[in-house]
Amino acid sequence: MTEENDVYEPKILGFLCNWCSYAGADLAGSSRLKYMPNVRVIRVMCSGRVDPLFILKAFEKGADGILIAGCHPGDCHYQCGNYKTMRRIHVLKKMIEQMGINPERLRMEWVSAAESTRFVNIVNDMTEKLRELGPSPMRCEGDPCE
């Protein structure tokens, strides 16, 4: 599905953990901080809940970028969930790069409940970077097998 007539607006899917990053994003909202509207947020209890399947599925469905935000290392509500996330994203980045998807499209950040500004900066920065990178290859190519 190409978007020749529409201007490209990056679509970011954000998985935010309930205890830290979602709270931080919420704080940004209640503080009336302005930021790019390109992120669609899914709240999970822990960033460690994010199954690699969700990420691959999100790319398949046309996400230009995926943000996983969790608690800072050492602060995870469930002790070690974010360490799992760290490892997962590390391997997944290699994997998607091998599959031809720019690994910068997959981003992991630590955002605490108080870091509303940090959250805003991340979203703005990521949106800009994705504008430069262009739409995800999953959006641009039809199935060439037929």
Partner: protein, 337 residues
């Protein structure tokens, strides 16, 4: 489907290695049972029926067709469609027709990149004209057609409707025997099922499992003192067991080698596409890796433990790339080359 008289059975291979055919030959005495219950009407590996004989059959004349091999070229697709029309039951037999198989790794390149390397750039090739196999006409004016490679490899159910799947590379003999007995007796499970048990290889593996914390991943040649009695994952060897369906008796593990995932993933997990094996393994291996003192370890150390997963796609999608969520290599517009 209950066979009142001798049924008709066919075995065919597409983009395959022939291993699935030999697996049938290796049934040994059970071949006599097959022959008692079926007429083998088409089996190019072992019998002389030709495509024209199949074309001449009525639709649904064949009771069961065991189809192995991936769909790599136009001929594979045409014959798959022909056999589908002529068969009541179509079984995707073996990893290649089930998931794309090892030839599915071809999806990391384009068809042109593959042809270019094989015919022009490999070391021993002497090909100054840059010839690539293609339709041609000889000096007498005879047209010689040759099937084209398709752009990417596909599994059987990407091109025709499949009734059952028998996984494995090749399918283990017990799995084949169980499936054949079901077909002969008529007591077949509901359509679309994978005809194999549904837990993971870890359940069948007899290696000793102790604490399940993997300190760091290693390549098998880096471990001089591999303990053959202990779980290979615990020793840092990336074994696909946790993401792979059982049914083979953990055969490779009995040889002290890690599972490579040939049976494909088990069906459990409500979000799984049923065939997304790589994501399963990423999840498993990153859950199992555990630095002793995470809180005081730097992020870098945690990542370094995984460094020896140098080719995650090749290891975790060895048999299942065409049926994975991403299916094939993409061209990111941000690529500068």
């Amino acid at each position: 489907m209950i066979l009142v008289s001798k049924g008709k059975i066919a075995f065919y291979w597409a983009g395959s290695c022939g291993g699935c055919e030999v697996a049938i030959v290796d049934l040994d005495e059970m071949l006599f049972d097959v022959l008692e219950n079926f007429d083998i009407v088409f089996w190019p590996c072992a019998m002389d029926a030709k495509y024209s004989d199949v074309e001449a059959m009525d639709n649904s004349e064949i009771d069961v067709c065991f189809f192995n091999g991936c769909i790599r070229n136009d001929e594979n697709k045409e014959i798959a469609e022909m056999l589908r029309a002529k068969s009541k039951i179509m079984i995707a037999f073996g990893s290649c027709s089930h998931l794309g198989g090892i030839p599915g790794l071809g999806n990391l390149s384009t068809k042109d990149e593959t042809l270019d390397y094989v015919y022009k750039r490999s070391k021993s090739v002497v090909n100054d004209e840059g010839t690539i196999p293609q339709n041609s006409t000889d000096e007498h004016g005879n047209f010689i057609g040759i099937p084209e490679l398709r752009e990417y490899v596909k599994a059987l159910d990407d091109v025709v409707e499949v009734d059952y799947y028998i996984p494995g590379c090749p399918p283990p003999v017990d799995v084949i025997k169980t499936a054949l007995l079901a077909l002969i007796s008529g007591e077949v499970p509901p359509r679309k099922e994978v005809l194999a048990p549904d837990r993971t290889v870890c359940h069948e593996c007899k290696k000793e499992k102790r604490d399940m914390a993997v300190k760091s991943i290693k390549r098998i040649y880096q471990l001089d003192d591999l303990d053959p009695k202990r779980c290979l994952l615990e020793q840092g060897i990336l074994c696909m067991g946790p993401a792979t369906r059982e049914g083979c008796g953990a055969a490779c593990l009995t040889a002290n080698m890690p599972c490579t995932g040939c049976m494909g993933p088990p069906s459990m997990s409500e979000l799984s596409e049923n065939c997304e094996q790589g994501a399963r393994m990423v999840s498993a291996i990153t859950s199992m890796t555990d630095v002793a003192d995470e809180k005081n370890s730097k992020e870098e150390e945690i990542k370094t433990a995984l460094d020896e997963i140098r080719d995650p796609v090749g290891v975790m999608y060895m048999y299942s790339m065409p049926k994975s969520i991403l299916r094939r290599r993409r061209k990111d517009v941000s690529d500068r080359d």
